[in-house]
């Protein structure tokens, strides 16, 4: 009985819905046949991936309140990406190439790994910074210019990820 209860945990249901939505988007036409096959395959994948599936505590954005913050965060990130590209384009196209590459260490404490990944990946996507390695709570970040290195202190993205992690 306990095993059956575990199978209906929130994480499994969400994974099932995500997989099924993915199947529906990729299938060429929505018919009874494809829907049934999709459900069966999704259930099989969920059963098979029991050992590796993220738990609810790990993925804080499974909660509805966090999802709203996450969507706002995505739009901020999008704007930052556009700015990053224009900055890098300027640096690359200017004849003198005003770069001053340096390594900086940023100390940012996040309790769970998924948020760490979100933070590290968004640092890579944003202006002139590139996450090289994560050791414990230390992020080793390579900055292309001095301005980018200074901007890493308590950046807007870090605040957002902190909000994602905070309790309600």
């Amino acid at each position: 009985m306990k095993a059956i209860k575990l199978l209906f945990a929130k994480k499994n249901i969400i994974l099932l819905l995500l997989l099924f939505a993915f199947w529906l988007i990729l299938s060429p036409s929505v018919s009874l046949q494809s829907v049934i096959i999709g459900i069966i395959v999704s259930i099989l994948v969920v059963l098979y991936s029991q050992d590796v599936v993220f738990s609810e505590e790990e993925v804080t954005i499974y909660a509805i309140s966090k999802l709203r913050i996450f969507i706002r965060y995505l739009f901020t990130l999008l704007w930052e990406i556009v700015k990053a590209n224009i900055d890098v384009a300027k640096v690359v196209l200017s004849p003198k190439m005003p770069i001053s590459p340096s390594f900086i260490k940023v100390h940012a404490v996040f309790k769970n790994d998924v948020n760490k990944v979100i933070y590290a990946n968004s640092v890579t996507l944003t202006p002139g910074t590139l996450t090289v390695d994560v050791r414990g709570d230390e992020y080793i970040i390579h900055a292309l210019t001095d301005a980018a290195a200074e901007g890493m202190d308590n950046s807007i993205l870090e605040q957002y990820v902190r909000k994602l992690e905070a309790d309600k």
Partner: protein, 108 residues
């Protein structure tokens, strides 16, 4: 209506091509691995993003646009991860023993 759509598609495609050009130029001009990674990752994300966005506008609202959106999402997830792995390999090579030990742990 078609004219406006066409203009938007052309502008987006040009933007995508521009950022790919910048990324390639950066790859050639930058001095070392890390700086090159900056140029390629930044410009690839927006270059591919704009090119796919142009295709989405071209197709209009349909299931194909949704698929293209998924492609963008996956590119934006995998691109920083790949950049991170490449630069980490370079960093470990530069900093000797510590990195080697970590790699061995990963491999064994």
């Amino acid at each position: 209506m078609d004219l406006i759509q066409g203009i938007i598609v052309v502008l987006l495609t040009l933007g995508g091509a521009f950022f790919f050009l910048v990324g390639t130029l950066g790859l050639i001009r930058m001095p070392d691995v890390y700086c090159r990674m900056h140029a390629t990752t930044k410009c690839d994300t927006l270059g591919a993003g704009l090119a796919l966005l142009a295709l989405m506008v071209y197709k209009g609202l349909s299931i194909v646009s949704l698929k293209l959106l998924l492609v963008i999402v996956f590119i934006w997830l995998t691109n920083p991860t790949a950049a991170h792995i490449i630069s980490k390999a370079e960093y470990n090579k530069d900093n000797g023993s510590n990195g080697d030990r970590q790699n061995n742990e990963l491999l064994s």
